[in-house]
């Protein structure tokens, strides 16, 4: 099959949804959600079909490889869950412009999928922009809501700054190597102050995308102001795309230099998780809260860049894979609860275990998985990442990361306390749920509880990617 098949399918779905939105009668527009979903599923199947081979397209500017394939699966999964939540959502902003929402989201997905397959700087940069610019519009999707507008504006400004930085860094790299081809750059660059400058600027640019401290300032406001479906999408898909970009840069270009930068990565990971966790403690709005939680999660993921990457990449992919399910489970509950009651503060979850025990259980499992409590999936994902840090000899960093998990448990338990220990408020009532949403929550819960215990997923990722990664021989 053509290496571009998944991207083509997703892009075509985007256009079909856009056109259908134009021609469908108002009362039939509810099929747009399933339409987008079908497109994503077909795209996912196309990715599966291509695995685990390495296929080139566009004259070598685009390469499908196992690592890229797994990243694409992650993006598609995140997009699919977002589509379901949007389809099931009864929020006002959703009813006004349903079709556009799906198509804009699908276009960002195409950008992300291109990003991880790009083999030269120009494709890389253009796909990054394709993945980012539509997100600005998504953040401001709630028309007339000042918070959403603010979110959009902030996102544009910081996003533009990040893009500018990246472009500058990539430009320097081009200047150093005289080529835009990633492999050529990797083979020609040598350690020099200019390379340091380029790497530093690029890291800062990536830092914005993956909410790495100290480039995280935009996250809280954007996460809070954006429609909750978009927040969910940002926290999972956009972050994974940032990690994909980091992967392209750090492993694709800097490769050999990476081992000297361990202290820098360790330091960034430390401040990212610590600050994210400490600030999350004092939040009251659950979306802001999840923003800081997501920041700290970024800190854990960066640990993966410390290790020999034939082992760390499978661990990172596995962590992200679990993270999609875990974070989507939590956001699913937030979206659902916000839709049905209009509430989004932590205090509003009082007594949820009494009025809606199943929802409360899904939420609790999701939060515990984020905190890394065994035997939930999040624990296994974290364990493997920490193992990479230990392998690289950073035992102190393992201690920092594990203590951070303890801190994070403190604030996740705050919500659990509200749900399980406080009595429900007078107006709380049992909420109904559609079958489709209940089914989605079932899948998410299976992901949260079983994907860590079943070895198959990690072993598959490992078997498909580690061979390809070691064959690259980036480290001489």
């Amino acid at each position: 099959m053509n290496a571009l098949a998944p991207e083509i399918i997703v892009a075509v779905t985007g256009f079909v949804v856009l056109l259908a939105d134009l021609f469908l009668a108002e009362k039939r527009k509810h099929i747009l959600g399933p339409l987008a979903l079908v497109g994503l599923v077909v795209g996912g199947v196309a990715v599966f079909n291509l695995m685990p081979q390495t296929v080139e397209a566009l004259g070598g500017r685009f390469v499908f490889n196992p690592v890229a394939g797994w990243f694409k699966l992650l993006f598609i999964l995140a997009g699919a869950f977002t589509a379901i939540f949007c389809w099931q959502s009864r929020a006002k902003e959703k009813l006004e412009s349903d079709g556009e929402f799906y198509s804009v989201m699908l276009f960002t997905l195409v950008g992300m999928m291109f990003l991880i397959s790009a083999t030269d700087l120009i494709t890389l940069y253009i796909s990054l922009e394709l993945a980012t610019i539509p997100l600005f519009a998504l953040a401001a999707w709630k028309k007339g809501d000042p918070l959403s507008g603010e979110a959009g504006l902030k996102y544009v400004i910081f996003g533009a700054l990040a893009s500018g930085l990246l472009l500058y860094g990539l430009g320097l790299l081009y200047g150093l190597a005289g080529s835009a081809d990633l492999q050529t750059i990797r083979e020609t660059i040598t350690a020099s102050p200019a390379l340091w400058l380029a790497a530093g600027i690029i890291t800062a640019g990536i830092g914005f995308k993956i909410t790495m401290v100290p480039f995280h300032m935009w996250a809280a406001d954007v996460y809070q102001g954006a429609p909750t479906t978009v927040t969910a999408y940002l926290s999972v898909a956009s972050k994974s795309a940032g990690i994909a970009f980091m992967f392209q840069m750090f492993f694709g270009i800097f490769g050999a230099q990476l081992s000297e930068w361990g202290w820098l990565i360790a330091g960034l990971a430390t401040v990212t998780m610590t600050l994210g966790n400490l600030v999350a403690i004092v939040q009251n709005n659950i979306k802001r809260f999840m923003a800081f939680s997501a920041i700290s999660q970024a800190g854990y993921i960066i640990l993966g860049f410390l290790g020999p990457f034939s082992e760390s990449v499978p661990s990172m992919l596995y962590y992200l894979f679990i993270y999609v399910f875990t974070n989507m489970a939590v956001f699913g509950v937030i979206i659902y609860y916000n839709d049905t009651t209009g509430k989004e503060n932590i205090d509003d979850y009082k007594g949820l275990s009494r009025t809606n025990p199943v929802i409360a259980l899904v939420m609790m499992l999701g939060l515990f998985s984020l905190a890394g409590i065994p035997p939930l999936s999040g624990f296994v994902g974290k364990f493997f990442l920490f193992n990479i840090a230990a392998k690289a000899g950073y035992h102190w960093l393992v201690a920092v990361a594990a203590l951070n998990s303890t801190i994070s448990l403190y604030y996740y338990l705050r919500i659990v306390r509200q749900m399980y220990m406080e009595p429900p408020t007078a107006d709380a009532k049992s909420l109904s749920m559609s079958k489709a949403l209940a089914f989605t929550f079932l899948i998410l819960t299976i992901g949260v509880t079983l994907f860590g215990v079943i070895p198959g997923i990690y072993e598959t990722i490992n078997a498909q990617t580690s061979g390809w990664l070691s064959a690259l021989q980036l480290f001489p």
Binding site: F368, I373, P374, P375, F379, F383, F384, F386, N387, A390, K391, H395, V398, A399, A402, L403, S405, T406, L409, Y410, L413, V416, R417, Y420, M421, P455, Y458, E459, N462, A463, S466
Partner: protein, 513 residues
């Protein structure tokens, strides 16, 4: 699935059954929980029988063993590329701890017969917790061990936070935070062992064949020992324990003090001492000093307490100090004593907390000075209380005596790596605690059960049938271990040999593996 797996699968399955019980049937929930735990008691008896059949307790091979020999092993690859496997089995120490846990959970369920608030969640969490505990005792893969360890710790938060008394949310959070922070240390230690062994496996037995460099042992041993020490109430990390125990509901205190704190001693022994013998040699005296403070401080703090639960909690700090003290004596008799102390303290504290719950359920107060003369209206509870108290001050004929005499002997015999005089001085200081224990136990009991009976307590009743069964089992167990300890000593001795034998190894001896 083999026998050993059933040890933790059964409570978990019972928990699932409890969750699936239709709402509004609290009686049913309790019956299921009781049936599950009774079945578990029978299963444990059967496993013990099987274990005794296959295990070799004597012979030169056992005495000279350097590697722990496991029985009833089940081993299945899990995450193969990382060397993680599902690896469970039993040696004498695990077997002993499994027996303890099975007894305590059974009596704990009986003692929670009066729980009326959200019984479904209560019993489900209790059973999940205990399946984690069983898992820790039978797993011999570091990954699996850690996984079960945290499963055993976290449900405590909800159990104390929802069903507790007093400042329950504060206590629950403090306990969870301290134990989770300690598990962070344990994680660091485990990953260091995994990477340091160079064997690409989490298999504890395989890792134990590796001789780690001294520098490595010197930093990993304290990390592991303190990590497990926190849950074993090692001074100065014991502060979660009085708060947690006093706020917890009866059955949870029983399980927590009776079983969960034993995970600390068990881990320190199984991972710390067994895998890092030279680290243990270098740190033994330091930790012996800390545990001596533990023992004395706990005993003196207990004197000052007015609340029965705080009183028992501090006495637990003191007695758990004995466990860790016994481990760092680094000789056969001391370590054996530590293991027996784990068992005897587990049964004794479970009895204590169970009785306190029963008394509190009647008097609605736990303040010692508010009570008096209760023996007149509740003779059964009073007698059991006295037996528990006497066991705790080490009366011969009860389990506490066997354990403590072993530990003190161990401290006196000493070892070749620590200064003998210092060890003896510390042992003498620790032994003094028995006198202090006698003071607080006897005075406390006298205040509660003797003297004139207060007017408002005259209508109170003695133990019900379920309460009699649960306390009766615990008392009988204390007496059996106290009077016929050789069965149990046989059981654990074979498992302690390899741990002690490794201590004397020189670097060239390690080459045999």
């Amino acid at each position: 699935m083999g026998l050993v797996s059933w040890l933790f699968v059964l409570p978990f399955a019972t928990a699932i059954a409890v969750i699936l019980t239709p709402a509004g049937m609290p009686k049913m929930v309790k019956k299921i929980a009781l049936a599950g735990t009774s079945l578990h008691l029978a299963l444990t008896a059967f496993v013990t029988y099987k274990f005794v059949q296959v295990a070799a307790f004597s012979g030169d091979a056992v005495k000279d063993a350097l590697i722990t020999h496991l029985y009833l092993v089940e081993k299945v690859p899990w995450f193969e590329s990382l060397g993680i496997q599902y690896f469970v089995g039993l040696d004498g120490i695990s077997m002993f701890m499994v027996i303890l846990t099975s007894i305590v959970i059974f009596t704990g369920v009986l003692a929670s017969w009066t729980v009326t608030e959200r019984p479904k969640e209560f019993f489900a969490l209790l059973l999940i917790l205990v399946s984690g505990v069983f898992g820790v005792f039978v797993s011999f893969d570091l990954f699996l061990f850690f996984l079960f360890y945290e499963v055993a710790v976290l449900p405590m938060y909800l159990l104390i936070g929802i069903w507790g008394t007093g400042p329950k949310e504060y206590s629950a959070m403090k306990l969870t935070m301290m134990l989770m922070a300690s598990s962070a240390l344990i994680l660091v230690g485990f990953l260091a062992l995994y990477q340091g062994s160079g064997k690409e496996t989490f298999d504890l037995i395989e890792i134990s064949k590796v001789h780690f460099p001294i520098v490595f042992q010197n930093w990993v041993f304290p990390v592991i020992f303190i990590g497990f020490g926190v849950i074993g109430a090692l001074y100065p990390f014991h502060t979660w324990s009085p708060d947690g125990h006093s706020s917890a509901p009866t059955a949870v205190s029983m399980l927590h003090a009776g079983v969960l704190m034993k995970l600390g001693g068990y881990g320190a022994l199984r991972i710390g001492l067994y895998l890092l013998p030279e680290g243990a040699q270098n740190w033994a005296l330091f930790f012996m000093g800390l545990t001596t403070i533990n023992i004395i401080y706990g005993a003196f703090a207990a004197i000052k307490q007015k609340d029965l639960k705080f009183f028992t909690a501090y006495s637990s700090v003191s007695h758990c100090g004995f466990v860790l003290f016994g481990i760092v004596t680094l000789n056969m008799i001391g370590v054996k004593g530590a293991v027996i102390q784990m068992f005897s303290h587990g049964i004794m504290t479970a009895l204590f907390f169970g009785l306190i719950g029963m008394v509190y359920g009647r008097t609605k107060t736990r303040i010692v000075t508010d009570m008096g003369g209760l023996a007149k209206v509740m003779p059964w509870l009073a007698v059991c209380f006295y037996i528990a108290g006497l066991a705790s001050l080490g009366l011969p004929g009860l389990a506490g005596f066997i354990a403590e005499s072993h530990i003190f002997l161990g401290g006196f015999v000493g070892n070749q790596w620590a200064d003998a005089t210092t060890m003896r001085i510390l042992t003498v200081i620790a032994t003094m605690s028995i006198v202090v224990t006698a003071v607080y136990v006897l005075r406390g009991l006298a205040n509660v059960f003797q003297g004139p009976l207060k007017e408002q307590f005259k209508t109170l009743t003695d133990a019900t049938l379920t309460e009699k069964i649960s306390t009766g089992i615990l008392v009988v167990t204390l007496a059996i271990v106290g009077m016929a300890p050789w069965y149990f000593i046989d059981l654990i001795e074979a498992a302690v040999y390899p741990m002690i034998n490794r201590l004397g190894l020189t670097a060239s001896n390690w080459m045999v593996f």
